[in-house]
Amino acid sequence: MENQSCVNIQTEWDIVAARQLGRNVAKELGFGIVDQARITTAISELARNIFIYANKGRVCIEKIYDKGHAGLRIVAIDNGPGINDIRLAMEDGYSTSGGLGAGLPGVKRLMDEFDIVSSKGKGTEIVATKWIR
């Protein structure tokens, strides 16, 4: 698909590549610098999660359009161990204090839409979207 590009996450440098990709797309779409920074931070967190907990996976950035609105969608997929208790991982203070997962509720707050599917032993898929205001 021409609207989607992906970065495979295997090393820490791939996190930087994912950030760069996200920032470029955000700029192209016309996001302001604060939203650019937010999107990049969200990508950074998700890519880092893959790097730390799943070892490898990929982050895809997609331009999306809905009723004349443009937006950016991040899809982070891995085949890692999965998240045991999603509700717990989405709780504030859990990841930051317990050292597990990585600021998922923070990512959710940075973006407009957030969806997570995870099954134990199979992996995790997170889709997060931000629309241009």
């Binding site: 610098i33 604060v34 203070g93 600021g103 707050r109």
Partner: protein, 336 residues
């Protein structure tokens, strides 16, 4: 006008003013601005972006390196914004939790409510104050048709919500035990079986149960490992411990309790308490038994309710208004 709409103009105003002349009054306006922006959930990264934008507007020929430096600042402050928003959300959750506990505490109070009986010849006072929102202490009075008042005072080891939940169960267990209420030892034995079967193994309950026969003025009692109370001999103006031996409730279902009896004379007093009273702690250590008895002596001329209220106030003050454990004190005075 909403703050967000005027935010830019206001910030521009403050910034240009301050660049022109560095006055304290402009800094003060800046402080007020930050309070407003926090109130309106403006994040740190938004402020930095605003700062950069306005600066570029006023100084179109601002050196490149200054412009670029803001990207680093923005990235760093985004992390702080991240943490700040999490903190906000945790604070809201805490508020919610607190109000939920407050409601639970009210429910508990209604559940455990007991009326101090008024009987001719007796003056009774009681106070029970939780260290936190919910009470793990419990006391109960029941007046029966045989001219007897039964008095129960209990303490769950531990405090807070688990202790309070446990205590609510005890109250209903007591109400539903059909045993002969005239026998404190029997009541404790029955209750012990209920606790042993129904309460978490890590939870123990101490209880003192007494029965005051106000026709004969005989006090019979038994204790399940509860903090010993005191007996005041009005004639000789002397205190002595109310001795009663017995295992805590919930340890062994076959526990037997011994029952004791005491004749109460005019001017005598029975003082019952929870360990929150004797374990009042100050910087110098525990409150000595003697200190407590001195407080009782100090207020001995007051009514029973005044005595317990005054002692609580004094001990609360002695501990700098921080209760470490739930506090319950009951005084039964036989009028002269």
């Amino acid at each position: 006008m909403p703050f967000r709409e005027v935010m830019e103009a206001k910030y521009r105003d403050i910034l240009t003013k301050y660049i022109k002349e560095q006055s304290e009054s402009t800094l003060y306006i800046g402080q007020k601005f930050s309070r407003k922006s926090i109130e309106n959930q403006v994040t740190p990264e938004e402020i930095i972006s605003l700062h950069k934008m306005i600066l570029q507007e006023i100084y179109p020929d601002m050196p490149e390196y200054v412009v670029h430096s803001f990207d680093i600042l923005l990235e760093i402050m985004l992390g702080y914004g991240f943490a700040y928003r999490e903190h906000q959300s945790l604070r809201d959750q805490q508020k919610e939790l607190r109000s939920e506990i407050e409601i639970a505490a009210n429910v508990q109070q209604t559940l455990l409510e007991t009326k101090i009986p008024s009987v001719e010849g007796l003056d009774i006072g009681a106070i029970s104050v939780p260290a936190r929102l919910m009470n793990g202490d419990y006391y109960n009075f029941v007046e029966d048709e045989n001219d007897c008042i039964s008095i129960a005072i209990a303490d769950v080891i531990g405090k807070g919500i688990p202790a309070a939940l446990c205590m609510s169960m005890i109250k209903y267990a007591m109400d539903s035990i059909p045993a002969n209420r005239n026998e404190p030892s029997m009541l404790l034995e029955n209750l012990n079986r209920v606790v042993e079967q129904n309460v978490d193994r890590s939870m123990f309950i101490t209880m003192f149960y007494g029965m005051y026969d106000y026709a004969r003025h005989v006090f019979s009692y038994a204790s399940a490992g509860h903090e010993p109370g005191f007996y005041y001999d009005g004639k000789n103006e002397e205190f002595s411990e109310i001795y009663a031996k017995g295992l805590m409730l919930g340890i062994d279902k076959k526990t037997k309790y011994r029952q004791y009896e005491k004749n109460i004379h005019p001017g005598d007093m029975i003082i019952l308490l929870s360990d929150g009273v004797t374990e009042c702690r100050t910087d110098e250590g525990f409150v000595e038994k003697e200190t407590l008895l001195n407080y009782i002596r100090k207020y001995i001329h007051c009514s029973a309710q005044e005595i317990v209220n005054n002692i609580f106030k004094d001990l609360e003050k002695l501990q700098d208004f921080q209760l470490r454990d739930d506090f319950t004190l009951i005084i039964i005075k036989r009028r002269v």
